[in-house]
């Protein structure tokens, strides 16, 4: 399989007396792969996702996206890579509260590729066509996360980073979101890198972080 993301010796330290959030992580994510990163709170899952997405820079080590080292790319180029090739799903949904579900899904179209028809199709696909004109406060938490999922996919990214996407949801909504994430990932050929505490879908590859180091799952 072709490597989409490659991380080598990835280390991230914070503060003047360095606290190590991530230590020497080597990891490869293939195109279209579903990769779950598990581990307890503070194990470095969010840090790993931020580094892989180019939102943060490592203290040491390298992240390559399709062979292009993110550390050598300018902030503008990293933004371009996120805009064109990456989607994001957050634990707390991060929907803009004064925008409707439809407007939230269309948010990446403000500055990236994609079209309104694709946004409508995804709203239908996640079961929100009838509630597209509602604002986040008028949606359930599960519906909010489904809207966030549609937003992550609207510009046809190569990879979706999902940081504990089901942690704030009830069990039924969790199942729905995982189902959509895996199905849509497969249908669209999108790699999914998700940090989670949940029981994981059968087809996923799982890696486990413990105190910033990668362990065998």
């Amino acid at each position: 399989m072709t490597a989409l993301l490659v991380a080598r010796d990835l280390t991230r330290e914070y503060g003047p007396e360095p606290v190590r959030a991530l230590v020497g992580v080597d990891l490869t994510v293939a195109e279209g792969e579903l990769l779950l990163v598990t581990g307890g709170s503070g194990s470095g899952k969010t840090t790993l996702l931020s580094l892989l997405a180019g939102l943060d820079a490592p203290t040491r080590g390298v992240v390559e996206f399709r062979g292009e080292p993110l550390g050598e790319a300018s902030p503008g180029r990293r933004a371009e890579l996120r805009r064109e090739h990456m989607g994001f799903v957050f634990q707390d949904f991060r929907l803009v509260r004064h925008l409707t579900a439809r407007e939230n899904v269309r948010l990446p179209l403000l500055f990236g590729s994609g079209d309104a028809a694709r946004a409508e199709a995804l709203l239908s696909r996640v079961g929100l066509a009838a509630k597209a004109a509602r604002r986040p406060e008028e949606l359930s938490r599960g519906e909010m996360q489904r809207a966030a999922l549609a937003r992550a996919l609207v510009h046809r990214p190569a990879v979706v980073f999902a940081d504990e996407p089901t942690a704030s949801l009830d069990p039924i909504s969790r199942a729905t979101v995982w189902e959509l994430l895996t199905e849509l990932g497969r249908e669209e050929g999108v790699a999914v890198v998700a940090a989670t505490h949940d029981e994981v879908p059968a087809e996923a590859r799982v890696v486990r972080l413990h105190e910033g180091r990668l362990e065998d799952a």
Binding site: A53, P75, A79, R82, L99, P108, L109, L110, F111
Partner: protein, 395 residues
């Protein structure tokens, strides 16, 4: 084009975030725009009205008895008795000067007005046969000229006829004499509309000023001869002479102090509106930090984010400016009344001219100032680190 539409849609949607706050900022911009428009409109309107009033006199030079010629000219424009007179022989001497193309003699008197406010006066102007010919566009609306230079007749200004409901053939009493209305003048938008005109000689009898006139209006063959004419007439001991352009300049010179004050006030209100927009936008973007972080995380370039953040407050400013223009029209009457109540001399006719140029200049100034003010918060919003702003809390 499609992208511009999306930016506009985003800016419109952004107004749903605390709409009351955006409305207040827009209101401040609107008030400042209206004030700027009224101030600029006052300058243009006053100058235009004054020029129209002077032009309507029909002569370029005014010759009056000794005293302050500017005061005499202002009284003439505003209406009021000028207690200075020119004798008949002196008047003939003035009229005989080679630069004079045409001239008209007049006697101006004011009497307490009947059926009006206690301090109101009615102006009476004794005029000769050249009076109407000198006035550009002046015509009788109905009736005709006096039947003789000593007839017990009057011509009425348009407003006098309207207000006192008098028409041709009706009678009016002046100082115990009964005068018949011979004609009514067309509306001129000047002091003439409120004046009763009498034949000069009859007026001299009536007001007991035989062979005397208040002034002589002179039109020269060539305006370039004005200096020579003024110099020659200056030597006549009992008269003084002033060019109407000088009067205009003197009045405008006095007005400039008031205008400077109003400009300062308008500029202060524009600055306050700009500060308001900047403050509200900074507060808004500070509250919406996580939203900015989200856009940065999704890959929004800093330049685009600047435009998005800027567009939102430009829209508020633009709506405010449009409202301000409408407000200026609404307040024009009140502003005109304020000017009349507070300035010593105000020409007849509207003195607040909200022309296209005035509105364009006011709108452009308000937009420019608020655009600059909104740029700072937009720049701050655009240059935040995506990760730091992502950690700014719930959206």
């Amino acid at each position: 084009m499609k992208r511009a539409g999306r930016v506009l849609a985003w800016a419109l949607a952004g107004l749903r975030y605390r709409p009351g706050r955006a409305a207040l900022a827009g209101l401040a911009v609107g008030a400042a725009t209206a004030l700027a428009a009224l101030t600029l409109g006052f300058r243009e309107g006053y100058e235009r009205a004054l020029a129209r009033n002077v032009e309507a006199l029909g002569y370029q030079v005014l010759v009056t008895g000794k005293g302050c010629p500017h005061e005499a000219a202002t009284l003439l424009l505003r209406g009021g008795s000028i207690p200075m007179y020119i004798q008949d022989d002196v008047a003939r001497h003035v009229e005989a000067q080679p630069e004079v193309a045409a001239s008209t003699r007049f006697l101006l008197q004011a009497l307490p007005a009947q059926h009006a406010a206690p301090d109101a006066t009615q102006l009476y102007l004794g005029i000769d046969e050249h009076f109407l010919a000198l006035k550009p566009g002046a015509e009788l609306q109905r009736g005709g000229w006096f039947s003789s230079p000593v007839a017990d007749e009057a011509l009425l200004g348009y407003q006098v006829a309207e207000y006192r409901r008098l028409s041709v053939g009706d009678e009016l009493r002046v100082l115990g004499s009964t005068l018949r209305v011979a004609g009514v003048l067309d509306q001129s938008g000047t002091q003439d509309d409120g004046t009763v005109f009498l034949p000069l000689r009859r007026a001299q009898e009536l007001f007991e000023r035989p062979d005397r006139v208040t002034g002589i209006g002179v039109r020269l063959h060539d305006l370039g001869q004005a200096a020579a004419f003024v110099e020659r007439v200056y030597d006549v001991p009992s008269v003084q002479v002033v060019r109407m352009s000088q009067v205009q300049e003197t009045i405008l010179g006095v007005l400039r102090g008031v205008q400077a004050l109003l400009y300062a006030f308008a500029a202060s209100s524009l600055a306050a509106a700009a500060l308001g927009v900047a403050g509200v936008a900074l507060l808004s973007w500070s509250e919406r930090t996580p939203e900015l972080g989200l856009l940065r995380a999704l890959g929004c370039p800093a330049g685009t984010l600047f435009r998005l953040a800027w567009a939102e407050w430009l829209l508020v400013s633009a709506v405010g400016v449009a409202g301000g223009v409408a407000l200026a029209f609404l307040l024009r009457g009140a502003a005109d009344a304020w000017v009349r109540a507070n300035l010593a001399f105000v020409p007849v006719g509207g003195v607040i001219a909200l022309s296209g140029g005035v509105l364009l200049r006011s709108a452009a100034a308000a937009l420019a100032v608020t655009a600059v003010a909104a740029a700072l918060p937009a720049w701050r919003a655009a240059t935040r680190s995506p990760l730091a702003t992502m950690r700014g809390g719930a959206l």
